[in-house]
Symmetry: C2
Subunit: 241 residues, 2 copies
DNA sequence: CGCGATATTGACGAAATTCAAGGCCCGTGG
DNA sequence: CCACGGGCCTTGAATTTCGTCAATATCGCG
C-alpha cells in the first residue's frame, strides 16, 4: 500500500495560508473525487459555515474566546494583536484575501483578530473540520504541512525582529506584501501604527523609512494606502545586511 | 466510529518538544497496545535510528542538507542558527534534553544545528516516521498538536523580540530556562554570545543585564554556567512592562 | 602555572524612541 | 460646493537605549 503525496505550498507573504495540495493517489485507482486542496476540503463545510461581514476595527474574536471556528478571509484584511499591560501593542500577523485564521489555535484564542478595513470572512466549524481530519490522514497531513510553513514563516519573522535594522524590516515587509500582487504594486490597508506594531518599530520610524524610500525614488506613493515599487533591485538590496 | 484523543502538551521552555499524548481508544476495545506518546511512537524506530555523540560546536546538520532525519536530544544542548551575510548570527532555538529537532523541517534544513557542549542525540529516519504518520491519523494529529504548540511558542518569542526591552528579554529567558528544572536553578550551557544572538541583543548587553540582576540580589551565580533564582517574584515582575 | 577563550565593565556613539508641532486626507455637514 | 474637524501621517529635536570599541578580569584547560 503506497501513495504519493505532493504538497505545493506557495511561500508568499503568508505562504502559510495560501497552500494548495495536489494528491496523486496511486494505490486506489478507482478513488472517488478527492478534495484537491485544504481550501476545497473546507469548502465541503461551507453549508455549516457562514459568511460574516465586519466593519473597520470590528473584532472577529477576542483573547480568551473559545476557539470554535476557523476562518478564511474572502475580502479585506484582518490583524491579530495582543495588548500588553502598559499599552504596547503587538501585531502577530496580517491576514489578507485567501488567508486562513485560527488553524493553529489551542482551545482558546490568546490574541484578538480585528478587521482592518471592511472585511468579509467565511467561518468554518472547527469541530467538523477536525473530525474530517481525524478520518482523513491526508487532511491532517495537510495541516501538518501548513503548520510547517507557518513555522518557517515565524522563523523568518523572528530573524527580522531580532536582527534586522528598521530599514531592513520595512523593505522586507514591503517586498513580502508586493508578492501578494503581480503588478509590482503594494496595498497597505493598515495604518502606520499597525505596521510599526507588526515590525517592532514605532509609527514614526515606519513613516521615516517610507519617506526615505520615496526620497530615494525606490517606491512611489499613489494615495495613502497604495505604493508601487520603482526600483525593485534596490529594495531587495535593502533587505540584506 | 468514534474515539477520543487527549493530548497533553506541556509548555516548558520548549513546550513544543516535550509533548506527551495519551490516547483513549474507545471504538476499538481489543486494540493492540498503542504508543502512548509521540516519543514512544518514534521509539519504535529506534532500531533503525542511531545514537550519535557530538563534541562541542560540532554540527548535527548544516543549512542545505537534505532533511532526512528527526533528532531527539538525550543529553547536552544544541543550538539552531543562521548566519547572515555580514556576520550577524541568529539563534532560532536552544534544544535541551528531551527536545526534538527537525520535526518542522521542509525538504532541506535552512539552518544549522550545532552542539553547544558534548551532546548525545538519537536520530530517527524521517521517511519511516512520516510513513507511520500516513498510516496512523493519531500520529499525524500528534504532529499537528506539536506544530500548534511550536507556533504558540514562536509567537511568544516574536512578542519578546519585537516589543520587549533588554532586561525583559533576559528575565523571560531565565524564567523559561528555570522551568526546565524543579529546583529554582538555571543551567546556562551556552555562551553569553549565544544568549545574545537568541534574544536579539549583544553579548555585552546580556552580560550587563545579568550583572544587574546579581547586583540587585535577584539571582546568584554558581560558576559561569549555573545560576539560581533568589527572588522569583522580582524576576517575574521584570518580565512585564 | 600560564595561556587562550570567555566574561565583565567602562566610555562613547549610533539608531531608534519619545515628545512635540504641523500638515494632509477624507468624511461630514452646512 | 466648500468649510470644518478629526484622525492619520510627516517631520523635527531631544532623549534613551542599546551597540560598538576597548581595556581588564576571570575561567577552564593543558
Amino acid at each position: 500500500m503506497e501513495f504519493s503525496l505532493h504538497l505545493n505550498v506557495s511561500r508568499g507573504f503568508r505562504g502559510f495560508a495560501i497552500m494548495t495540495a495536489a494528491f496523486a493517489i496511486s494505490y486506489y485507482p478507482t478513488a472517488r473525487p478527492e478534495p484537491a486542496t485544504l481550501s476545497d476540503s473546507l469548502a465541503v463545510l461551507d453549508g455549516v459555515g457562514a459568511v460574516i461581514t465586519l466593519r473597520r476595527d470590528e473584532p472577529l474574536f477576542r483573547p480568551g474566546d473559545a476557539a470554535e471556528f476557523y476562518f478564511k478571509v474572502l475580502k479585506g484584511a484582518v490583524r491579530s494583536c495582543r495588548v500588553l499591560a502598559d499599552g504596547r501593542r503587538h501585531i502577530g500577523e496580517f491576514f489578507l484575501s485567501g488567508d486562513f485564521i485560527g488553524l493553529d489555535a489551542a482551545a482558546h484564542y490568546i490574541f484578538a483578530a480585528e478587521a482592518i478595513i471592511e472585511t468579509t470572512v467565511i467561518r468554518y466549524s472547527r469541530r467538523k473540520v477536525d473530525a474530517l481530519a481525524a478520518e482523513e490522514p491526508r487532511i491532517s497531513q495537510s495541516l501538518v504541512e501548513i503548520m510547517r510553513s507557518g513555522l518557517a514563516e515565524a522563523r523568518e519573522r523572528m530573524l527580522l525582529l531580532g536582527h534586522m535594522t528598521a530599514m531592513e524590516r520595512i523593505a522586507t515587509f514591503l517586498l513580502n506584501l508586493s508578492e501578494r500582487r503581480s503588478d509590482g504594486r503594494i496595498n497597505l490597508p493598515m495604518t502606520r501604527t499597525d505596521i510599526g506594531d507588526y515590525l517592532g518599530l514605532t509609527m514614526e520610524t515606519v513613516s521615516r523609512g517610507l519617506s526615505q524610500l520615496k526620497g530615494d525614488g525606490i517606491i512611489t506613493q499613489h494615495g495613502m494606502h497604495e505604493l508601487a515599487i520603482a526600483k525593485l533591485a534596490e529594495l531587495v538590496e535593502l533587505t540584506k545586511p
